[in-house]
């Protein structure tokens, strides 16, 4: 069982997975874009501007999911002290930051024609901005603190504190009066989104998840090589 977790085996599987994702990615991207831009109908109220949701919503989901994973893995790192966990969190963080920023930017572009403003200090948007700041804090500790153990400790603390922000983002639309509508898609209970719009949304989400997996694997591979290179110098 633990043989699978060996860095050499992980490295082997990373190469295989990168090849596999590269082989299917562009076909799936074309299918998802066709649904998002051509086949899905315009919304009866928002018109064609609803198509912005097909990049905005998956970006926000990925931003939230990435930070939740980083925070949970950081807790695991504190308990089990497995170095590999820090390689994983370091590889996830830039992806999460990019998608959080994309959620903010595409949300702002959607806000202009829909709400008549590029920006509003409402609870959902502000808490997403705070999430981006937590990402920046996490990445900066690894960039600017040369002592790796110290950087790992500080970044873990940032991630764990940032975890408090995740339920705030999720429930901000229920707890406060915000410009944002309540969640249309629910894991438990009936979703209020029509299947003709749910389909392109899920397809775009799947394609972006594949993209994230690709970037994560490449970054993780880089981290493994960096460690091996360091070990080579030591011996």
């Amino acid at each position: 069982m633990f043989k699978i977790l060996n860095l050499s085996n992980i490295f082997y599987w990373i190469e295989k997975l990168i090849g596999f994702i590269n082989s299917i990615f562009f076909i799936l991207l074309l299918v998802a874009l066709s649904f998002a831009l051509i086949f899905s109908p315009p919304d009866y109220l928002q018109g064609d501007s609803v198509r912005i949701m097909y990049v905005h919503v998956p970006s926000a989901w990925i931003g939230l999911a990435s930070f939740s994973s980083i925070a949970i893995l950081s807790i695991a790192h504190f308990i089990f002290k497995i170095k590999n966990i820090k390689l994983i969190t370091k590889s996830i963080a830039p992806i999460g930051l990019m998608f959080t920023c994309l959620a903010l930017v595409t949300g702002s572009i959607w806000g202009q024609p829909t709400w008549g403003t590029w920006w509003a200090w409402d609870a959902r948007i502000t808490s997403m901005l705070i999430l981006a700041l937590f990402y920046i804090g996490f990445i900066s500790t690894h960039k600017f603190i040369s002592d790796e153990n110290k950087a790992n400790k500080i970044s873990s603390i940032i991630a764990i504190i940032g975890l408090i922000n995740i339920p705030i983002i999720k429930y901000s639309v229920d707890w406060w009066n915000t410009l944002h509508q309540p969640a249309s898609i629910k894991l438990t209970g009936e979703s209020s989104i029509h299947s003709s719009m749910l389909m392109p949304l899920l397809l775009m989400f799947f394609v972006l998840i594949l993209y994230c997996a690709l970037i994560f694997l490449m970054k993780y591979k880089t981290e493994i090589i960096r460690i091996k290179k360091k070990n080579l110098k030591r011996t």
Partner: protein, 77 residues
């Protein structure tokens, strides 16, 4: 018909702008990540090649990663 598609009933700039920003950002992150990975692979392969023949043999025998990086870097060369 194409003009209608591009115009998106008046929301074209917003819709295409959002998709363009998303794909440009994704493309840039992919490019930067790939560039960094290739640099690390090249540097690692170079360091192994600079070792003495005996030491290099030991490293390759003991590390699957080193042998994989060496073989992939020799393919790209």
């Amino acid at each position: 018909m194409i003009q209608n598609f591009l115009n998106m009933s008046g929301y074209g700039l917003f819709v295409w702008g959002s998709f363009a920003i998303t794909f440009i950002a994704c493309g840039l992150l992919y490019y930067k990540t790939l560039k960094t990975l290739k640099k690390y692979e090249r540097d690692f392969a170079k360091e192994i090649n600079e070792l003495s023949a005996e030491r290099k043999k030991i490293v390759i025998e003991n590390s699957k990663i080193a042998s994989q990086v060496l073989s992939s870097s020799s393919k790209t060369i």
